[in-house]
């Protein structure tokens, strides 16, 4: 028992720490030798301390605690992501249910899917003339594809048996949708939701940089322009950690639906 416990800790706690340690060592080495402009870990910590230790403080529009910036980013992501899911899920269902619809729209979806957020944002600005709706638009249009494609995949993967049951029980369209199709597709949908959230979080940084919206990405760009490179690293770390937490949370939600 004791042995198992030790082994367990070694695997899931110590090894990741070793990995992180190696990266920090490489970072320190690089900043000390190759690139003098790259702040060392110690310098980064010193410069980031006020932002981390009072994470919600607001000293000025572009000088706020890191979690306060994170919160702004999360709110913006939430808006875009909600829109992505609201559009993406029905679109995916439609694609999954209708061969005709798939034939008509799959090619254009495959063409629009790889377009970078950097390309969508100017179009959003042209359309909405304001940075906030343009940002939401860009996040939504970039993040919705995994939801669309996974939902469609899930609908196509519904066993014929379930559809036969719905038919012989003479279920109405609404009942078939909500009692059979939707629950059968849910695990796939959640995979799509998780991937979409990951993309939404990727897009936010680019969008904030281009629009100058306050948030982690906006802060990062502003500090680059002010030559405070330590804060670039602070932002990168924050973006990574938040993204990781979001993904973990979605995985847990996803696992709940995998039972069926």
């Amino acid at each position: 028992m004791d042995r198992i416990r030790k082994r367990f800790r070694w695997d899931v706690l110590l090894l990741p720490l070793v990995g992180i340690g190696v990266v920090f060592a490489l970072w320190a080495l690089t900043s000390a030798t190759l690139s003098k402009n790259l702040p060392s870990p110690v310098k980064t910590w010193d410069a980031s301390r006020p932002y981390i230790l009072s994470p919600f403080e607001k000293r000025g529009e572009l000088d706020q605690g890191i979690l306060r910036f994170t919160w702004y980013s999360l709110v913006l992501v939430a808006k875009g992501y909600a829109l992505a899911i609201l559009i993406g899920t029905p679109l995916g269902f439609w694609l999954g249910l209708s061969k005709l619809f798939t034939k008509a729209f799959d090619p254009i979806i495959q063409i629009l899917r790889p377009v970078s957020p950097l390309a969508w944002l100017p179009l959003g600005l042209v359309l909405f003339e304001k940075s906030h709706p343009a940002a939401v638009f860009t996040i939504a249009i970039c993040a919705m594809w995994p939801t669309v494609l996974n939902t469609a995949l899930g609908v196509r993967a519904i066993p014929q048996d379930y559809l036969n049951v719905a038919r012989v029980l003479k279920l109405s369209r609404m009942k078939t949708l909500f009692k059979v199709l939707l629950p059968a597709t849910l695990p796939y949908m959640f995979t799509g939701f998780r991937l979409s959230l990951g993309i939404a979080w990727l897009v936010i940084v680019a969008v904030e940089m281009l629009t100058g919206t306050p948030g982690v990405g906006g802060f990062l760009w502003q500090e680059y322009n002010s030559l405070i490179y330590e804060h670039i690293i602070l932002c990168i770390g924050t973006i990574g950690v938040v993204g990781f937490i979001l993904d973990r949370m979605m995985s847990l939600a996803e696992a709940r639906f995998k039972v069926a």
Partner: protein, 264 residues
Amino acid sequence: MALLELKGVRKSFGTTDVLGGIDLSIERGEFVSIVGFSGSGKTTLLSILAGLLQPDSGSVLLNGVPVREPGRERAVVFQNYSLLPWMTVHENIALGVDQAFSDWPADRRRAHVEKYVALVKLTPAKNKRPHELSGGMRQRVAVARALAMDPEILLMDEPLGALDALTRATLQDEIEKIWEEDRKTVVLITNDVDEGVLLADRIIAMTPGPGAVLGPSVTVDIPRPRNRKALNHDPRFKEIRNGILEFLLERGRRRRAALAESVR
């Protein structure tokens, strides 16, 4: 007039001729077994009876009216149970009941579902999900779901095929008992000749596909209730069973010989 009447029903998938002209007539209250090798097109035939598939030619008449789609008067018990895994036993049965009897008050629908849960002896497991149940229990849910629709005809597609021999025997006895209560019309598709003879009023062999047709229909004139143990020594039972078996084996031999000929 027969309750269900099939005339010259043919069905092929692509170039494979599955059903090659099926004629079948079933009277109200009759229990008919159709036995045949696996892969002979039995499930296709049942799907046509259920209205899930349309024949390429020929007619399927129910009370003289052509069958074009599934209907409430025909309930189906599928081979692989086909329960919805995210629903409990009660919910699986209620799914069809709530739809079919939507004009009933909720209490009455609930009581109706409970009645059928009890009929298949699953009251203690009514809040369990299919993955928590054994194969035999799952098949009971499927039977209850079909019966709760209060159909005119019960269509069963190898309902006990996936079960072990003992569970199978128990469920056969239960099906017979349940059937004795209201004598609904039943079409049972099976690959087990003993099962077919034990349960049915009439047993019909299906020749091996492609181009499957039905063989002669044999009336099982053994009085009910039938005792499984005594049946093993019943000369009439043996006679019917052996007749069907011989027919199937002979047709199977001819089929294989024809295939070997065509390969050569």
